[in-house]
Symmetry: C2
Subunit: 207 residues, 2 copies
């Protein structure tokens, strides 16, 4: 049945994404993915005929798309840029705490291992980051920020949260994520309030 | 001779640091380190009797200490926090460009692979980040920032530069590092100018 085939495929992808995230691409063997997912022997090459590279590229794309949905949910209720960035920080901090500091960014470990290369894994990681950034840019645009300003603030928010996630993971303490989100959020809120009108903008920058 | 022994040991450590940084801990085998460093067979276990874990912990500590020196040199000539953060960003961007986007942070790849664990590798990565942060905090303190403010700004600068380094590596474009450094630098400069005196501080926050 197509249904159970799809289940096996999805189970393999989710297991692979989790193992790659936690221990890296290089350290994760296909046999480990097979055993941990409980998939029948032979199903790996049936579903992923191009092997480990295809599996990793699809696992990163899937994990990235799922994270993009969680991010969109987290920021949807935000009243402004500061609240949106705080909500993203809380989402990342919660993921870290809930996994006892094992699950940070679903992409970063593999992205760092593969960043010098080109190929399907690198492309999947790059598309994932741009997907996340696009979501943030569109949120910021909704708060009247100009395209370039929205892009720069999204890059700043994503960079600082990614870096804070790394520090928090190494420290086993999420405080740095919330602190960084607060400061970057304040900056974004200031930019958004300046964008509301030339008088407000002048007030924020000149006084 | 002690001298040539030290050379072999240092050569192994530098080779290991480079391989771990570029391809990760899990994907790097001891035989590859031995071959790439040109060290005689048997020298690995002679110098690193506890094996790969000891080698990685010492390689991260060495690479981290060398980066700390380069960071200290880069910020030593800075006139203020904005210039210091720009100089750090330029240092990281240059390392990325000079290595054709292979060498980002010497620690991050291994730190992400090992962050869920405790043990000598995790400890070496954590100590390295705290060493880098301490250097920045001391610079910021020299510009009259209070200890807590200096710590928070150092966390923010380090987080945002680390995250920007990851984005830049994936994009094969360092523009994001410079853009993030400019914005975080401007924020740090504002905090430092506010710290110069209560009147200036009130001017920045209340008006």
């Amino acid at each position: 049945m197509a249904h159970s085939r799809g289940d096996t495929r999805a189970r393999i992808l989710h297991t692979a994404a989790e193992l790659f995230q936690r221990q890296g691409y290089g350290a994760t063997g296909l046999n480990q993915v097979l055993t941990a997912s409980g998939a029948p022997k032979g199903s790996l090459y049936f579903h992923f005929p191009d092997g480990k590279e295809q599996l990793a590229a699809e696992a990163m794309a899937l994990a990235g798309a799922e994270m993009a949905e969680r991010m969109a949910e987290a920021v949807a209720a935000a009243a402004g840029p500061a609240e949106a960035i705080a909500a993203l920080g809380a989402l990342l901090a919660q993921g870290l705490e809930n996994s006892d500091y094992r699950d940070g960014c679903p992409i970063a470990t593999v992205a760092l291992e593969e960043a010098g290369d080109t190929g399907p894994i690198h492309d999947a990681c790059q598309r994932t980051y741009e997907l996340w950034l696009r979501g943030l840019v569109e949120q910021f645009r909704g708060w009247r920020l100009a395209e370039q300003e929205a892009q720069e603030l999204a890059d700043l928010a994503m960079s600082s949260l990614q870096g804070a996630l790394l520090l928090a993971r190494v420290r086993h303490d999420t405080a740095v994520i919330h602190a960084v989100a607060r400061r970057v959020g304040a900056m974004a809120a200031q930019a958004a309030s300046a964008a509301l009108g030339p008088i407000a903008a002048q007030g924020a920058s000149d006084r």
